[in-house]
Assembly symmetry: C2
Homo-oligomer: 600 residues x 2
């Protein structure tokens, strides 16, 4: 329970006032007084307390009599003492599209100014003239200061100031306050996703997605790092690819939604530590070899023009903080989006991407580790593996009578993606195609042990057994099969994740029963069959019923910061509260890892 005293604000309603104070509170109906969710209790306030009961959804007559009101229908014509339900705070940081709103307090804002013209009696300097209205702000950019006098004169002292925190980053003639945009960008090793956000309304206008153009230099971060070590200009080359991609993004926003890049004033980035370093042109070679330490865990705020990014030249480029060489801004962002540092119950976060990041803890602190899961779950290093593209087999169903599958876009199969592989391995296990050690039956063994349809699918690849999912022509563009080696890859990946979870639990001295929620981040989590993932031990079976897929939570966190600057501080709090466990350094890790190779 939080108790507040409002200042008297004639005419404003309490919901608006609370939002300005940074409270993110439920209001699905948008303040129309019909959803009954923005409940507060008025403790002091004569007019508010003496109002007759109007018959409101969400508040009973009994509740009304002890002061419960809807914030959206309570006007601030007097000073109120109010009580705010605890739940608001918890809900404040969870962004579940639609249900709750993030208080709109962007890091960048615009203020339209109609300044008094100078006279001989008022020789206030041009910049001090701005400060008369804006308070004690700074202009750090000399070019901006140099252009100030002319801009004011040409626009008869009517200008719009763009502020990032306390710094004036741009000035525009006339009233341009209706054009204020920001973008949240997740730079993944494999894919890049950016959301354009209208900072006046909080609306997400559109999203841009692309493959990370660095992919030509290798699938994983190690191969990218290697490129910077082997080629003198490798670092600049990889950096330029990212910068060019961001410029393609703003071009796309301009052509698709008619939003001028000039009016984008803030880009907030998340990504793993290597991606953020490459973006800023910082060397990454130390991250590749022990002791893996990065240059920094904080990117300074960068002016867009310094990197040649085609937004407003003085746009602020920021990044969420990072934790270690292999726990990046994307993980911090996921933690932010799940709010797990604010809950008293324990949460487990599993982000399965090209690498696997695991975080465990509660409001008393978090521990993180990076599991070398490898890219098998993204379809890489799998014989017929493929990313989540059209034609990828994404769901497989094996019954004694046979095997059926679906593909993305309902196209003829060209390969198998992560969710399909998980389905496959789980059902191979259940049907006896592989044993608990992952060993696949031979053709001969299959004749005895398997139903005929399954037995007929056992083949040989490179001297080991393989399992045919589809032959060319059977809804497939080519033969698709799973090899013994593929099963081993999945075993390595799932053992790495499971061992990571186990080590973190040991460090925190808790067990599965203590874990209230398991957040599964990444695109993978949206498509995977959770029961199959539990069957193969990729997700802990002990947490059945507690698993929540949160999609691209890294991007969600990045958007939260774009919309409400206070989340940047929350992110810093997360960084400070999150410890890092280096698994390779952990006594007993190898044993735990090997233990988890088995399917239990």
């Amino acid at each position: 329970m939080k108790i507040y005293k409002t200042e008297v604000k004639h005419g404003e309603n309490l919901l608006t006032w609370l939002r300005k104070k940074g409270y993110s509170l439920p209001s699905p109906c948008g303040g129309k007084g019909v959803c009954g969710k923005c409940r507060v209790r008025v403790l002091e306030g004569e007019n508010a307390l003496s109002m007759p009961y109007p018959g409101l959804r969400g508040i009973s007559l009994d509740e009304w009599e002890i002061g419960w009101r809807l914030a959206c229908k309570t006007m601030l014509n007097e000073e109120l003492k109010i009580e705010i339900p605890d739940s608001w705070n918890e809900e404040a940081n969870i962004m579940t599209d639609g249900d709750y709103e993030v208080a709109l307090q962007p890091c960048v804002r615009k203020v339209y100014l109609e300044l008094p013209k100078p006279t001989t009696k008022d020789q206030t300097s041009d910049f001090d003239r701005l400060k008369m209205v804006l308070g004690d702000v700074e202009i750090l950019d000399l070019e901006l200061l140099r252009s100030l006098a002319q801009l004011l004169k040409e626009n008869t002292y009517k200008v719009t100031a763009v502020l990032h925190g306390n710094t004036v980053i741009a000035l525009e003639g006339g009233d341009t306050t209706d054009m204020l945009y920001g973008a949240a960008v997740d730079i993944g090793t494999t894919t890049i996703a950016g959301t354009l956000i209208d900072l006046n309304s909080g609306d997400e206008i559109g999203i841009y997605t692309s493959l990370n153009p660095q992919k030509t230099f290798g699938d994983d971060v190690i191969s990218r790092i290697t490129h910077t070590i082997e080629y003198k200009k490798g670092l600049q080359e990889l950096q330029k690819l990212l910068l060019d991609e961001l410029n393609k993004m703003t071009d796309y926003f301009e052509s698709q939604f008619g939003i001028s890049a000039e009016n984008i004033y803030h880009i907030n980035l998340v990504g793993n530590t290597v991606m953020i370093h490459l973006f800023a042109g910082m060397p990454v070679e130390n991250i590749a070899c022990s002791p893996f330490n990065p240059v920094t865990t904080h990117l300074p705020t960068i002016q867009a023009k310094e990197l040649g990014i085609k937004t407003n030249p003085n746009a602020a480029i920021t990044s969420l903080p990072m934790i270690a060489g292999y726990i990046g801004a994307d993980t911090v962002s996921c933690i932010l989006a799940t709010n797990m540092l604010e809950n008293s119950g324990y949460s487990l976060l599993i982000d399965i991407g090209t690498n696997g990041e695991i975080v465990l803890g509660n409001k008393d602190g978090l521990l993180s580790c990076a599991a070398a899961a490898g890219p098998a779950l993204e379809g890489a290093h799998i014989q017929c593996g493929i990313g989540g593209v059209r034609g990828a087999i994404n769901k497989i169903d094996i019954t004694p009578n046979g095997l059926s599958f679906t593909t993305i876009g309902n196209k003829p199969a060209i390969g198998i993606c992560g969710s399909g592989i998980v389905d496959m391995v789980a059902q191979m296990l259940d049907s006896g195609v592989i044993d608990s050690f992952g060993r696949m039956v031979t053709r001969e063994e299959a004749q005895d042990k398997l139903p005929s349809d399954l037995a007929s699918r056992i083949s040989v690849y490179n001297g080991s057994p393989s399992f045919v999912i589809a032959n060319e022509g059977e809804k497939a563009a080519k033969q698709i099969f799973i090899t013994q080696k593929d099963v081993r890859e999945i075993q390595l990946a799932k053992a790495a994740i499971a061992a990571g979870i186990q080590i973190l639990m040991e460090e925190m001295n808790i067990n599965y029963d203590d874990i209230e929620k398991v957040y599964l981040a990444g695109g993978f989590g949206n498509y995977i069959n959770q029961y199959h993932a539990m069957r193969i031990g990729l997700l802990p079976a002990e947490c059945k019923g507690k698993i929540i897929s949160i999609g691209n939570a890294a991007l969600t966190g990045a958007k939260m910061v774009i919309k409400s600057g206070g989340f940047m501080e929350a992110a810093e709090k997360i960084r400070k509260a999150t410890g890092y466990v280096e698994l390779s350094n952990k006594a007993g890790f190898q044993e735990v890892f090997v233990d988890n190779m088995e399917f239990k």
Copy 2:
């Protein structure tokens, strides 16, 4: 009386500790325990209080027994509660070479770091590794951040950090703490002076002086502004001249004193508002015409490399704040050096340069105005006028028996400089060569009224009387004389100053009796005969005995800031406390001005 609790610091003495806390305290002997000035009273501290009396200068046995000690001889091996005499605070802001020291707390400082190398158990990022020792500092320069990893590795994690406030501006391999320099620079319309300061000792190593290279575009600020209006690249041209001159200065420091420009990390500038604007490349055209408002009264901190200044590329370039278009950072600096805002008695500051700035007030507030005195007192617009160069007549003595003069450098006279002109006009007045309205006697009138030597010196120039000081060959390289028009120029100049003083006194509702001190700033003040200046009404005769010549106080203030960053805040306090009176706008100013044309 101020009471402090010290933290326990093994081995450090109290004097050092107090200095680190920002206390500027008297210690003429440099902490050797012999001058007896750094007296403090220990209130709590067992060891310190139980020490036997050693017989000390400055502390009697009685005083010793009630706890008086010398800070320089009191070791911090225990927590002390101490009392500091009030007088220390007041003395802190006055810089009177030798007697008291400015607490050496430069805006830039160096810290030598021997950092632990990263291990798999300590994967702290390179930058966070710095922060472990330096606290919550920032690196804003991307280039610096990019070079960090390599620098640390190459120097086995032994590096020196250079800090400006909270920002790391440079990093150097090994221990370079003994090389830390700054420069204070006064950019005058006519001359430039810069002092190189060792920031480890506070020693002023040397001074560089030159003419302002912009002089070829005119003697006064108006002609410089006109150049920027008439020529498209005029502003950049004038800026470049100043930047080039600063680079000549650092070259000079390097060749003359062996101090590498790389090791200069801070340049603090003062100058009039036009000079500071031109230095930063900011337009000045508004300052030339009503309402005279400048672009800004604050320069942001600029990185040297942004302007191409040859110091350390990340050196901080700062300026003291300005007050108005015609009251600049130089005036703020003079106020800082005189400490006039801290005194309860009224002080009057007169800075006579190419323009005349006047400030009046006390600790309750200051008022300033700019008097259009013109450059006559610098020898310009005077027929035989010349600056204070070798061969300039600087002192003149007229007796009934004749006239004698001295020249700078004892060279044959080539002209007459400001102090000579003041001598001349005062004595022409006393001897009856001019009357109280400034009218010069004709040759005919002279025959009757003047002693024969003086009468013989009256000649005619351009149809009006003139007075010959020396003919060619009489210790002079050419004939030197004063014209009727020259006298009128001096009358205009002195009337402008006197009217300015009078208007400020009227605004503050005080009179000459209320003024305790008159500070005369500028090179001019050092050489002028004060009695002659009072005779002609250039300085108020009512303030006889109260006039203090403070030389280049603008440079003194700039040096104070270089040595002790706290003075920057004091300068900002001055800026806020100093009002500006636009004389041209003042009802009654013309009457006061004309009244003061007469010699009284």
